[in-house]
């Protein structure tokens, strides 16, 4: 212990990083003998160039796959490469965390939790889920670029290039569009702590973002659950790629109650009915809260609602690589833990909206010009 105390802070950080890396590598060691599974083979077009078309031109992914193939043309290569990318994303989580919290402790904890999080298993273990890691990598890199220092045109241009590359990874990377919008709207030169930046941001900007995300949320809920419950015809016109984008958003709803599933798995129980019921209740509660905030409060609550809701989207979409939508919805790896970073934001949003409505407000009397509680 004495030796540990004698270490410089930077040396301690390296020590912890090394320990975490060894633990993570130990967790994923069995992938060294894993084969390609499910859709892996169909999605790697390197050996079938005649199957390439415009839709499959994805430069960032080709670069990643190419690097993997340069070293190894076997499943091991892809799994090792996925692990390396996952560690890189964890590093970016740490860097973005530093920008947001301006403190090492929370940023390091977030990065460590991300690195060892069970939800990352499909993204690392499933070779084609490399796209998900790449989207997370791109999104976090954009956030880091825009948050790391004072605004310059160079920084903006780099953010734009990263955004373009990320969007080319896959269609559903459209969810990343929220990152520059949000960062630009909440950015505050004096205090880059996100909490204070949100407070200091422009009311109109927040309201616009809130409205966009809020309407998106309602639309998603209707499309997704309307489809599942058979409310909508099977061949409705927006069936194809827009749904792909919307799926990224609806995941928020799904995640809420699925956080209970790992507990069920621990006890060898199938508790899928819990999330199915609870997520519908939660979705209705959130939509109801937002609608009520729009109708009654007009400005602040709905703006905060929208911003925090969009933050939850970003948290889900970027902090944790999402399970591919083509992956079967098995309880042990579907989205479960992605909800954890989102839940506090949701709860805070509701509590804050309630508190602001209940707190006494000052009213300016038109006759006297005086404030009255």
């Amino acid at each position: 212990m004495a030796d540990y105390q004698a270490l410089a802070p930077r040396a301690r950080a390296w020590l912890w990083a090394g320990v975490l890396l060894v633990i993570a590598a130990g967790c994923y060691r069995s992938l060294l003998t894993a084969t390609f599974i499910y859709e892996d083979i169909h999605w790697y077009p390197w050996d079938r160039p005649w199957t390439w078309d415009l839709a499959s031109v994805r430069p960032p992914m080709f670069a990643a796959w190419g690097l993997a193939f340069l070293g190894w043309s076997t499943p091991i290569g892809h799994h090792v490469w996925n692990f390396v990318l996952h560690v890189t994303v964890a590093l970016l989580v740490w860097r973005v965390g530093l920008c947001l919290w301006l403190r090492e402790g929370p940023a390091t904890a977030a990065a460590a939790l991300f690195l060892l999080h069970p939800l990352a298993v499909p993204s690392v273990g499933y070779a084609i889920a490399q796209t998900e890691i790449m989207v997370a990598l791109g999104g976090l890199a954009i956030a880091w670029t825009l948050l790391a220092g004072h605004w310059t045109w160079h920084r903006g241009a780099l953010g734009g290039i990263l955004l373009t590359l990320t969007l080319m990874v896959k269609a559903s990377a459209l969810g990343v569009l929220a990152v520059p919008i949000l960062v630009a709207s909440v950015r505050h030169e004096e205090r880059r702590d996100l909490w204070h930046a949100l407070r200091a941001s422009d009311q109109t900007q927040r309201s616009i973002i809130a409205a966009v995300f809020y309407l998106l949320g309602i639309g998603v809920w209707l499309v997704r659950y309307g489809d599942t419950l058979g409310w909508l015809p099977q061949q409705y016109p927006w069936r194809q790629w827009p749904e792909e984008m919307l799926i990224q958003s609806v995941i928020v709803w799904q995640l809420a109650a699925q956080s209970i599933l790992p507990i069920g798995i621990a006890f060898q129980r199938d508790w899928t009915w819990v999330p199915l019921t609870a997520q519908a209740v939660l979705a209705l509660a959130l939509i109801g809260t937002g609608a009520w905030a729009v109708a009654v409060r007009r400005h602040y609550p709905v703006a905060m609602f929208g911003i925090l809701w969009s933050l939850t989207l970003i948290g889900v979409r970027l902090v944790v690589p999402v399970v591919p939508s083509g992956t079967p919805r098995a309880p042990e790896w579907i989205y479960a833990q992605q909800w954890y970073p989102a839940l506090p934001g949701m709860i805070w949003c509701m509590v804050d909206a309630g508190r602001r409505i209940l707190e006494p407000r000052a009213i300016v009397m038109p006759q006297t010009g005086q404030e009255q509680i």
């Binding site: 967790c27 994923y28 069995s30 060892l116 298993v121 499909p122 499933y126 098995a330 042990e332 790896w333």
Partner: protein, 139 residues
């Protein structure tokens, strides 16, 4: 200090859960078997497990799984389009299996009728000619 303890406890539990989930991603057999443990009525998992068994040469087991899938799919709560797809895949797999054995099976007429109704274009594909009397001629 308390926050650090909570984070360390979370990290330890995450590491254990992660290490326990990774082996399921070894191959198709482990993956779909694992899925079916927790979602026994998930048709796509059953279809894919059957295919993994067939690829592994365990055809009787694959047929058993596919037949079970037909029952599951008809009752499962799922989008109709996906149900049709799952049933079609299962039926075609079973038809192929019986065709490969080169023996008549009493289940064939029902399978062929169902598959035809679901996707007649499959039988009109190049290289396959379907007749009105349910005889499939492979060229």
């Amino acid at each position: 200090m308390r926050a650090k303890i909570v984070v360390v406890c979370l990290l330890i539990s995450y590491a254990f859960i992660t290490a326990s989930l990774v082996p399921a991603w070894q191959n198709n057999m482990t993956l779909w078997s694992r899925v079916l443990v927790f979602s026994p009525s998930y048709p796509r998992a059953a279809v894919n497990l059957g295919q993994a068994l067939a690829v592994d040469g365990r055809l009787p087991e694959a047929v058993m799984v596919w037949e079970q899938t037909r029952v599951i799919s008809k009752a499962a709560r799922m989008p109709e389009r996906e149900r049709q797809l799952v049933l079609l895949v299962v039926e075609l797999n079973l038809i192929n299996f019986f065709a490969a054995k080169n023996v008549y099976d009493s289940r064939l007429p029902e399978l062929l009728t169902d598959a035809w109704e679901r996707a007649p274009y499959v039988f009109n594909a190049p290289g396959v000619e379907a007749t009105g009397e349910w005889r499939i001629i492979k060229h």
